[in-house]
Symmetry: C2
Subunit: 210 residues, 2 copies
């Protein structure tokens, strides 16, 4: 099937939304934990997370201001921090349900049945059920072409199970049970194929032993 | 294992790079096809691709100017277009090998053994072996906090196998054989768990039949 831009622009809205949301492949999906100045916790699923740098450790997150992410953005602006919590198979439905439009004074933690966890010296809530989780201090906001906001932050705390951490710092996300997503509503487990050595011209990359 | 920011900043460089690159979960990984004004094609693996909007269909890509992505960025600036090509299991090693630092006048297509494919009215090369692929017209560049460049573009052509396209526009990436990646060097196949209905307060999301 081939689509030109004109075809894409004249597709039914729901079809186009599914098509264009699934075209970029599998995504980093996680639960973003925040709190507002009145102490109401918020939890929202996001699939637009990405690496910006390792030193200092920087992360980026895209937020549509008109989406259910608006509470997340308001809270990040007010408090300056958020948590990122990986999703495992056992709570995919609860994680998906955080995308429902709940009122301001309701916590998605309560509504979907996940447990807020507060760790020392960090104001924002983690998801107790998540195996891999980290806290991010907001650094800047950048506005993109269609009003989407790119929030950039620094990782200031990171927690993961010992048995998922390799000697070289690599986190075995398959072992951690971290899922991935595609499109707006599809969730996947993964199956490791290979880790490959650093690529150099003229040398075929080799398998890194697990 | 818990890491505070100070711990992260004092880790050995390679350990920190692996740790922070794998913390964001599974990623959208694809081959970016470009061409320079002399007609030399370029192919580079990128795992920092994301959805910005569906109408118009917008995509974002992060490039570190000091990385092997510099040729990609130079070509995009010169020609204004690039292609994004999904990776299947059969050419993971070739895809990984595109990250080697080849000279300007060498095409990664030739070096790694993938086939450049030119489609009508599009100057930039696709990967013939890729099942899902699209062409993007560059719209803008945004500089982020650490010198990373966010390239925003509009999808103007999209090709995918008929049997991977659902009635609702959802692309079955598992069926297409699209892989995902984690960290700097790990590649994974996926296993579908569920597609869930649109979330509404007080209603438990249901499985969408495949």
């Amino acid at each position: 099937m081939n689509y030109q831009l004109d075809d894409i622009l004249t597709l039914p809205e729901r079809f186009r939304r599914n098509l264009i949301n699934s075209v970029h492949g599998f995504k980093s999906v996680a639960l973003i934990g925040t709190i507002n100045p009145d102490g109401v916790t918020n939890l929202a699923i996001f699939s637009q997370l990405f690496h910006i740098g390792a030193n200092p450790p920087l992360v980026g997150m895209l937020v549509r201001p008109d989406s259910v992410g608006r509470h997340t953005l308001q809270n990040i602006r007010a408090i300056g921090w958020f948590t990122i919590n990986h999703i495992q198979e056992s709570f995919i439905t609860a994680a998906h349900q955080t995308s429902a439009r709940y009122p301001d004074d309701v916590s998605e933690f309560d509504e979907v049945g996940l447990t807020p966890e507060f760790l020392p010296n960090i104001l924002v809530p983690f998801v107790k059920e998540s195996q891999v989780k980290y806290a991010v201090r907001k650094l800047e906001e950048t506005y993109l072409i269609n009003g989407t906001v790119l929030v950039t932050g620094k990782i200031e705390f990171l927690q993961l199970p010992d048995h998922c951490l390799g000697e070289d710092g690599f986190i075995d996300l398959h072992q951690a049970g971290t899922i991935t997503s595609a499109g707006l509503d599809a969730y996947y487990l993964t199956h490791p194929v290979s880790r490959l050595t650093y690529a150099k011209p003229g040398i075929i990359p080799q398998e890194i032993p697990r």
